[in-house]
């Protein structure tokens, strides 16, 4: 026998979440309806408020509730430094370091030629305009050390250099407190290739 239409629609809707197949979606739907109707209400309200209020900050491209987010508007931040990261989660970890007081730009992705993600999909022109505002003195490329992250960093650096903007890349190598014996060989190999003068 077919499920009531609205229940079917709920199960179908839950499947849009990553890693949720038909079985999990059904379990979630029954759980919400049977055991946690208040939770379901909260979820529904939070979803629609978030969709309603959130937009991309016009300066850092991260999610924000105003045209310019709080961080970008803060006078305590050093507007001469702009750190480019792939995802909001990367921005969060940079903030946790308490080692950086500049501003950010969140690409919301990375170059991925085999998935058809190129400079247009990532709106490189918006980042170039942001970095070229005349206040930014240095752009720090903090994309991931994957092939995709490296490709992104390489092309951004060429484009920024061509516009006369100073570019740097975060360093990579053996982690803090790391013992060589326990670090993977690829990391040690790259640390060796990128070794630097020591005095």
């Amino acid at each position: 026998m077919a499920l009531p239409g609205s229940l079917d629609a709920l199960i179908e809707a839950l499947r849009c979440l990553p890693g949720v197949g038909p079985k999990s979606a059904q379990r979630m739907a029954y759980h919400l309806l049977q055991h946690d109707p208040r939770g379901a209400e909260r979820l529904s309200a939070a979803l629609s408020t978030a969709l309603d209020r959130l937009c991309h900050c016009s300066r850092c491209n991260n999610f924000a509730e105003s045209e310019v987010c709080e961080r970008c508007a803060s006078p305590k931040r050093d507007a001469a430094l702009l750190c480019v990261v792939e995802m909001p989660a990367d921005l969060n970890i940079m903030e946790q370091t308490h080692a950086y007081n500049g501003l950010y730009y969140v690409l919301m992705g990375r170059l991925s030629p085999l998935d058809g993600i190129g400079p247009r999909e990532l709106a490189f022109d918006r980042l170039l305009a942001r970095a070229g505002d005349g206040v930014v003195r240095e752009v720090i490329l903090a994309t991931n050390f994957t092939n995709e992250g490296e490709a992104t960093a390489h092309y951004l650096s060429e484009m920024l250099h061509a516009r006369g903007i100073k570019v740097s890349r975060i360093a990579r190598g053996v982690p803090v407190g790391g013992e060589l014996e326990y670090v993977d060989a690829a990391t040690v190999a790259q640390a060796l290739i990128e070794r630097r003068d020591y005095s």
Binding site: L114, N147, A186
Partner: protein
Amino acid sequence: MKQRFDNQRAYLLHTYPYSETSLIADVFSREHGRIPMLAKGARRPRSALRGVLIGFQPLELGWFGGGDVKTLAKAEWVGGVPLLRGRCLLLGYYLNELLIRLLPREDAHAILFDAYEEALATLAAGTADAPELRRFEKALLREIGYGLTLDKDVRGQAIRPEAHYLFYPERGPIEATADESAPTLAGKTLLDLAADDYRDPRTLAESKGLMRQLMAHHLNGQTLQSRRVFIELQEF
């Protein structure tokens, strides 16, 4: 039939996210060709596979399973090849996309594997890359059953260096008439391409055009995403 393989030389061509924490890895192995593999838990934060499943790096893989998609059991980084950088990285994606689009699954192509490895080494060294790409494209066409005839025209006549030719995919060169309006190839280009001699700039330019035409033919009009992205990046 359930089989297990160990210590197989392979390269990772591409990965697709699968469920919450896993990946489907499109792998090109020397002895077993292109195989999709489930890398369980590879996207977990502390997964041992995280620093190992890297594209363009020689790997040794172990897997088992009887279905279309195998299960990756073990992956080791072999190393010895620097990571690709910049423009060469984009050319690497082009090679991978050609393999993904044109190579059927589970067909061993050891010769092509060696050509791929050689092409990657040249790209990693950052030396002249165009000849290496042409060599790889030629090897790929030969391995998928469309080897090029470059020293004779379709009627079996020897190619003359000073004559001009049209190249018909899956057939070969036909001498062009003097009033031919379509772009033609010099006979010398065909002979140079046969001998892998790319010192002549004209050979380089014309053989690139020929390969683009042939790849487009074998891709049945599908766009190569890596080529599109490469071109867009040049425009910025």
